[in-house]
């Protein structure tokens, strides 16, 4: 399961670094609610991705009923987890709702940007 851990480590650290650097710059520029929202959303995006990866091996080698139960529990818990920052974005003015929503997709943005960049360099090389 090292491959999964490495994948998680790569995308989660990139997401957090991007969010923290961008958030820090936004806070310095006086847009603190946008910066804080981005960091908050990214934090939960990373947590979601970690839970997703950690639950994967638990499903392997189990009976169908047990695997279905684990998968269902994983989905419910991850959706509840992702709902937390959105509710915070709605309820607290310290967090900008739009930047929270962008942050929630930070892991997906990192995955896509890496591969699009690779595809672009591959096309230029050929």
């Amino acid at each position: 399961m090292n491959v999964i851990r490495e994948t998680q480590k790569k995308y989660c650290s990139r997401s957090m670094i991007t969010a923290i650097v961008t958030g820090f710059l936004l806070i310095i520029a006086g847009q603190s609610s946008i910066g804080k929202g981005l960091i908050l959303g990214t934090l939960f995006s990373v947590l979601n991705f970690i839970v997703m990866g950690e639950v994967l091996p638990l499903k392997v080698g189990k009976t169908r009923r047990k695997a279905s139960f684990i998968a269902f529990g994983s989905i419910i818990s991850r959706y509840i987890l992702l709902a937390v920052p959105i509710i915070m974005g709605i309820k607290f003015v310290q967090f900008n709702l739009c930047s929270v929503i962008v942050g929630i997709f930070m892991v997906q943005i990192m995955i896509l940007s890496e591969h699009i960049k690779n595809a672009f360099f591959f096309m230029r090389k050929h």
């Binding site: 999964i4 994948t7 994967l56 959706y79 959105i86 709605i90 309820k91 997906q108 690779n118 050929h126």
Partner: protein, 324 residues
């Protein structure tokens, strides 16, 4: 209690939120399940690659899940956002927003599972091109999300734009129709785009050297598949932004609701059909790259013909809005 506007807003927001998440979860769950099923098949063929296959599955499922996260965002907004200018039209807009996102996430969720599943399967066939395969899968999956993004945009517009200045009758029907138009039309386009992307991953695994042609035809095929959802989006914009004279007649309201239903349901078939045409072209380009031009022409002609029913639906919608 039934005359209380706030009660109606709460009813609409809670029902809309439930519809957004309930319907929105269907597609992503099926897509992720399909990916896992293909990953199982792949692991059983080559257990040594199980780590790489699980990694591919994880990354593919993370992207496939985006559609249901869009739905989650809209559902939470509907449940917790306080409305600044409460009116019965706001209630209709909130309900329309929930419907739009719920239906709109189904196709993209299912569709983006196809490339992820085929990438897991292809990894066993060609482990040395895992990078190309993953890139192809991610590009295909990301494009599949476009109809769900259209739905999210319309849902956000319905939630945040203040329609309270317009007459309640018949604008309430226009707002619910706007939600149905984009939401339903997105089902076919998301699913169809996924078919093309799945065939593309299969093609790259079969003939890695054809990756350029396969990806290009996949993207063109997916773009044409999305025309049906663009028609739905267009009708939604017309329904949302056209000004209507006040009319107590039920006919006027039903015309606007029917316009949304027409372009919404009318977009499902063409979206899937166009995706099937693209799937065929992409699959065969990988096997017969010399004939890529001919295959693309056949795909585009087939898609144009398949598209005509969406155009009929759009024409009927426009007649219902402007003529009847």
């Amino acid at each position: 209690m039934l005359n209380d506007i706030q009660t109606w807003i709460n009813v609409a927001a809670y029902t809309g939120g439930g519809m957004a998440m309930g319907l929105g979860a269907i597609g992503a769950a099926i897509g992720e399940g399909y990916t896992a099923a293909q990953a199982n098949a792949a692991v059983s063929r080559n257990t040594e690659l199980s780590g790489d296959i699980l990694k591919s599955m994880l990354v593919g499922q993370a992207i496939a899940e985006s559609a249901s996260i869009f739905a989650l965002v809209i559902a939470i907004l509907l449940l917790f956002l306080s409305v600044s200018n409460p009116s019965l039209l706001t209630a209709a807009a909130l309900f329309g927003g929930g419907l739009c996102m719920g239906f709109g996430a189904i196709g993209s969720g299912v569709g983006s599972g196809f490339p992820a599943g085929q990438a897991c399967k292809g990894l066993v066939r060609q482990p040395q091109v895992a990078g190309k395969l993953t890139t192809n899968m991610l590009i295909g999956s990301a494009v599949c999300q476009t109809p769900a993004i259209f739905s999210m945009v319309v849902a956000l517009m319905l939630i945040f734009i203040d329609f309270s200045g317009a007459p309640l009758l018949p604008t309430w029907a226009a707002l619910i129709g706007a939600g149905l138009s984009t939401g339903l039309a997105a089902i076919g386009s998301g699913f169809g785009g996924g078919l093309a992307a799945g065939a593309s991953c299969e093609g790259v695994a079969r003939q890695p050297e054809t990756v350029g042609n396969v990806t290009t035809i996949m993207l063109i095929g997916q773009a044409v598949s999305q025309t049906a959802s663009i028609f739905g989006l267009l009708i939604s914009f017309v329904l949302m932004f056209k000004s209507y004279p006040e009319s107590a007649a039920l006919t006027a309201s039903m015309c606007l609701l029917a316009a949304g239903i027409s372009s919404g349901f009318g977009g499902i078939g063409p979206g899937i059909g166009n995706g099937m045409a693209a799937e065929g072209a992409v699959r065969w380009v990988a096997r017969d790259v010399e004939n890529a031009g001919g295959l693309m022409r056949t795909m585009l002609v087939g898609q144009a013909v398949s598209q005509s029913t969406a155009i009929y639906a759009m024409v009927v919608s426009l007649c219902l809005i402007f003529v009847v």
